[in-house]
Subunit: 134 residues, 4 copies
């Protein structure tokens, strides 16, 4: 499991006083970028491949407020030939799970735009993370 | 069915050249605000009640690019005692469905923060929209 | 003068109950895209040239709230050989000026990344808009 | 001087391949929240006072790209009776200054909405930061 620490910024909240729902995907995405950075897969500004999101979903269990410290736990989901899932849990400092996010990514060639096999470095990182979980 | 016309803005896209996935929720939310405005439910800045999102999901079928004209079709989903769903389809000008979004909202009191029955004006609007669909 | 009508969305606001300051640039940018679209300059997704912002500033006179109707007035600023300015005024429905924005853009070639002369179609639109103002 | 380390996220960029101009204010704001947190001024979710931005400006010297490591240097600007300025410099890892931001904040009472004297804890932090700079 990969852990990413962050805080809810003022711009993540809205006039209701809590997180605007779509910003939960921003928090998950920050954790995703940090997780992928650990795989050594990306060269800055020149991704070997693209990993567009083909499905995303989120559940909201407790409101997040401006300044809340959040730990995003990242776990691999299903790993396919050219796709993989990531599951995120947003935990407050008191352990409350404020919400969850899941994303499914497809690996496509930056040149052709067509699906490609997951690079082995990424597949290994996902498998290793899944093993640490078990 | 309620239709909302918009365009993909530069800030909706990212360095991969297409829509950043979380921005699809922004486009759906704009349509949601426009749909709710037709119900007469909200007084500007003083909502009678809050309608936080408790679940959100999106699928991505075709990339959206800067400047793309998009029609967001909004359909009611399941309507419960104090909750309701909305389903969105993002259609490009050539009819291609670029993606879909679904949100589930719970009506809560702005005062107590507890679930309340859907206001009849909202229930009627959702039912009417569902009937027009049939 | 070019006028663009919009409304403050929930995600434009923050937990203080008013517009998050950086979102004023979003509202101005929406007006900018709509203004530039009137010039016929852009082919969807294939800009003939890029117009990056090299300077941006904003003043905030009155708070904008969720649901506020806003008319963004766009006026050309200084027009140079390869640069131009745009000035925006955000007016509420009662005529109050909630804030102002100014941006300075440089025209650069999408191929070489170097400054180029403003296309005549853009120069004409800016001059025409400035004349209508006088 | 206060230093804040961050990276340019995918959603900070746009289809031109570089930072969307308004996102430079997001990077500066993250640094602002981190700086203010060091003053001990804010209680989570219950700010003693509000510090709305009344003026903001940015200059853009070099494009920032997805994944770029950025150090935001924060320096106090003019400190008044109920207002203060902050100046930010966004430096890339090679030392290049990619851009600058300046914001002016007014302290207002969360209750009355009227300007109040800067809290001494904030005034001291601003003065100390200015002294470290000299």
């Amino acid at each position: 499991m990969f852990r990413f620490a962050t805080t809810v910024k003022l711009y993540d909240t809205d006039a209701t006083g809590a997180l605007f729902f779509a910003q939960q995907f921003r928090l998950a995405h920050d954790a995703c970028e940090a997780f992928l950075a650990t795989t050594g897969l990306f060269v800055q500004g020149k991704p070997i491949l693209q990993l567009p999101v083909v499905h995303a979903e989120a559940d909201y269990a407790a409101p997040l407020r401006w300044g809340d410290a959040v730990t995003v736990e990242v776990r691999p989901g299903r790993v396919g030939k050219s796709s993989f899932g990531l599951c995120y849990r947003l935990c407050k400092s008191d352990g409350t799970v404020a919400g969850t996010v899941a994303t499914v990514h497809v690996a496509i060639s930056g040149k052709t735009g067509r699906p490609v096999r997951l690079p082995s470095v990424l597949r290994k990182a996902l498998t290793a993370a899944a093993a640490r979980r078990a």
